[in-house]
Symmetry: C2
């Protein structure tokens, strides 16, 4: 069983590759929920949804969020009623948030709720929220603190980042499902997601870093930074804002205590000594995922580094290729 830590788009892409290459039921994704927000009274989990939509083949490849071909009739009408429309919620996407909110209101945990949605979409992998408590990433800017989606979507990442913290994380606890997954894991993959606001909050759940270290299995991290730039999103600005190097070596620093095998891009081969100095074992390879085939290739490379028996690899691939 492979446990992958994933944020949004980049994480979902590698998770999709792993899902395609592994036998059914062998992938557990731990998703970031510190980006969650409540809008229109609905509980929205953008990162969980990106993973879920990607693994089910529903994702919109053009935007990186939402469902391909979705319409926006409800949102237009909600705006007419005075509701906010800066967070673009498609009609089919709304169904996810309505269903999730109804389940949560009925007393289900986010873990249980997510399992139900995942199963309904026919996904043969496990998606676990990093915790069941409500936590929230706060971005410190010169104009004061902003909630993550306010910074990211509403204000389009235009603010200078002076600090990042996850509100409520002290009260968060590792769920039983995550504990069990870490016990059964034969390797742990840190997907190429933002180390500060995507993987960061997952690792910030009290006890998570220790639990991962203690699992004693290979840890393979994939750098989200290639040639000094983030493949997507504000990772570069954020690393810089926090005084970290905008490179695979800067990312390795964030994961220093985990001493991972670190996949860096071929273009960054010269960074190997710096990555090694940050406690990781660097491996250079092509890591940019542009096509679905790229996801599969990277996943195979990751699994190889995980020590996963390659003969067992190829489970869901055909289904995935047919999409």
């Amino acid at each position: 069983m492979i446990v992958a830590l994933a944020g949004g788009v980049g994480g979902a892409k590698l998770a999709d590759g792993l899902y395609a290459e592994l036998p059914a039921g062998q992938l557990v994704v731990i998703g970031n929920t510190a980006d969650d927000l409540v809008l229109h009274g609905l509980h929205i989990s953008p990162d969980l949804d990106t993973v879920m939509y990607t693994l089910s083949g529903l994702a919109n490849p053009l935007t990186g969020w939402g469902i391909a071909g979705d319409t926006f009739q409800a949102l237009e009408m909600m705006a007419r009623y005075g509701g906010p429309d800066w967070f673009r919620l498609g009609d089919r996407d709304l169904a996810t948030h309505i269903s999730r909110t109804a389940l949560l209101h009925s007393g289900a945990t986010l873990t249980h709720t997510t399992a139900q949605l995942i199963t309904a979409l026919g996904i043969q992998a496990t998606l676990l929220p990093m915790c069941d408590e409500r936590v929230e990433t706060i971005i410190e800017t010169p104009d004061g603190p902003l909630s993550f989606q306010d910074y990211f979507v509403h204000r389009g990442c235009r603010d200078q980042v002076r600090g990042v913290h996850v509100q409520g994380i002290e009260q968060a606890t590792i769920t039983e499902a995550i504990q069990e997954a870490l016990t059964k894991a034969s390797a742990i993959v840190i997907c190429p997601s933002n180390p500060l606001v995507s993987v960061g909050p997952i690792l910030a759940v009290p006890g998570m870093r220790q639990a991962i270290r203690r699992s004693g299995v290979p840890i393979v991290a994939v750098s989200p930074i290639i040639a000094g730039q983030a493949v997507k999103g504000p990772a570069a600005t954020m690393l810089q804002g926090l005084g970290l190097e905008v490179s695979a070596a800067g990312v390795a620093k964030v994961y220093e205590d985990l001493r991972p095998i670190m996949l860096i891009d071929e273009a960054d081969a010269a960074l190997a000594p710096a990555v090694e100095a940050a406690g990781a074992r660097p491996v250079a390879a092509p890591i940019l995922m542009q096509t679905v085939q790229d996801r599969h290739s990277l996943a195979r490379r990751v699994l190889q580094l995980c020590g996963y028996p390659l003969a067992a690899v190829s489970g869901n691939k055909q289904a995935s290729d047919q999409r």
Copy 2:
């Protein structure tokens, strides 16, 4: 100021006629909320919505419910998640329920919530829920009790009706807004809605019948039964099931204590003595509303019987005709 008691489609049509004929701000509609239901965690008020969509010109004239041209993307997806889809909720219609539910969860009353939605849609009339408490019409059938929407939509009115009662109505109270409207009313109109499950619950709010009687203003009721048949919905079956005559006279019986002026159809002119025997003053006229023009004509006739100064009549008509 004219106060109209209305249920769904028939009530909304006459309310629309009154809205067109009266000066802006002179119409108050008291709507039935005993048909309300919670589905997908959302508070749905079908009768309030039918009035609201009709007065705003959004109503779907083909179905009698929902919004013209609405799509059903979200509902299809909710069904995929295992949610019920027998109650057809369009995407734009969903926006109403999402917005209402968010307002209610924030602590607003249904009265306040409805006012906000009505204002947002630019409607220059007042729509008041019959009460702010949650009540529910229960239909007694040979197979046991059914909630109204279960009987009406889910099972398509196929069950025999042995009784009707409104659960929770003992705890309902007349709202301040309704009290004020009844004080200011120059006449009260009972729209051609189902007397048992649309107007009935409104009149069943403790003190409502007394408050209407004590207002001392003309009361004009329009029969929803023409030539022994309900224009729409299960009124005929219900009257029959409860041992009442399926006619304007049977309807007059339900309103007996209110001693209304009762508009019956020309086709039912022969029923005048029976209507009179039930305490009402019968007036025969064409009352079937098929076209928008029919709504206006009937509204003018109603206003005339209300003793409303006809010179003042014609306020919103032009706007309504242009739709």
